[in-house]
């Protein structure tokens, strides 16, 4: 019974992982891709770890569960931080928004000094 519940968690997590990766291919610009992939892959991996913990048994393999919980907390803290650092770095680098974007308050408040450059 435990292994069935665990397998369901693992399957849902893997589905979210795949969706995140598909979003990384489909979406039009770097910031949208960053959002989709960070959110979906983070939660997908966390659900896979919950599934692993349930299938292995919390008490039967306490060491594995402890490592899974530490890894989950670590990923939940660091993935948004890395995404923020990458977004800020990419903006400073000169990656531009999608041309159909609605609004860009950041450029209004901090106009860019450098001229248009394509980093392609």
């Amino acid at each position: 019974m435990n292994s069935v519940i665990g397998m369901i968690f693992v399957a849902v997590g893997l589905a979210f992982n795949v969706l995140g990766c598909i979003g990384m291919i489909r979406l039009p610009d770097m910031y949208n891709r960053l959002q989709a992939s960070t959110k979906c892959v983070t939660m997908g991996t966390c659900m896979v770890m919950i599934g692993v913990m349930i299938s292995a048994g919390f008490l039967h393999s306490a060491q594995l569960s402890a490592r899974c919980i530490i890894c989950m907390v670590f990923i939940l803290i660091t993935a948004p931080t890395a995404a923020h650092a990458l977004a800020h770095g990419a903006y400073s680098f000169g990656v531009r928004l999608w041309e159909k974007s609605v609004v860009n308050r950041y450029e209004e408040d901090f106009p860019k000094k450098s001229t248009d450059q394509d980093h392609e």
Binding site: N17, T38, M49, I70, C71, L86, G89
Partner: protein
């Protein structure tokens, strides 16, 4: 037996990330894809640990997550530094 489809799904994820690494129009896209690849590999180690019952795979996963995070931060800082110079 259910593990082999799971591995294939994760391999497909890695393939999509590698496609973005190779194709990505800007350097920032590549850095992002490498970050996501790191998290997918952690997922892989968790499943391997469940399959074999060995705990040390999860140790590898934790250290992989830490190293991937540090590498991503370093890449982001590098991108930012170049932006300020130009």
């Amino acid at each position: 037996m259910l593990f082999i489809p799971a591995y294939l799904v994760l391999l497909a994820c890695c393939g999509l990330c590698l496609y973005r690494v190779g194709r990505g129009p800007t350097a920032a896209d590549r850095a992002m894809a490498i970050d996501i690849l790191g998290i997918v590999v952690v997922c892989f180690t968790a499943l391997l640990s469940l399959k074999t019952g060995e705990v040390f795979y999860m140790d590898i996963g934790i250290s992989w997550a830490i190293l991937s995070f540090i590498g991503t931060i370093a890449l982001a800082k590098h991108l930012e530094g170049r932006g300020f110079d130009e």
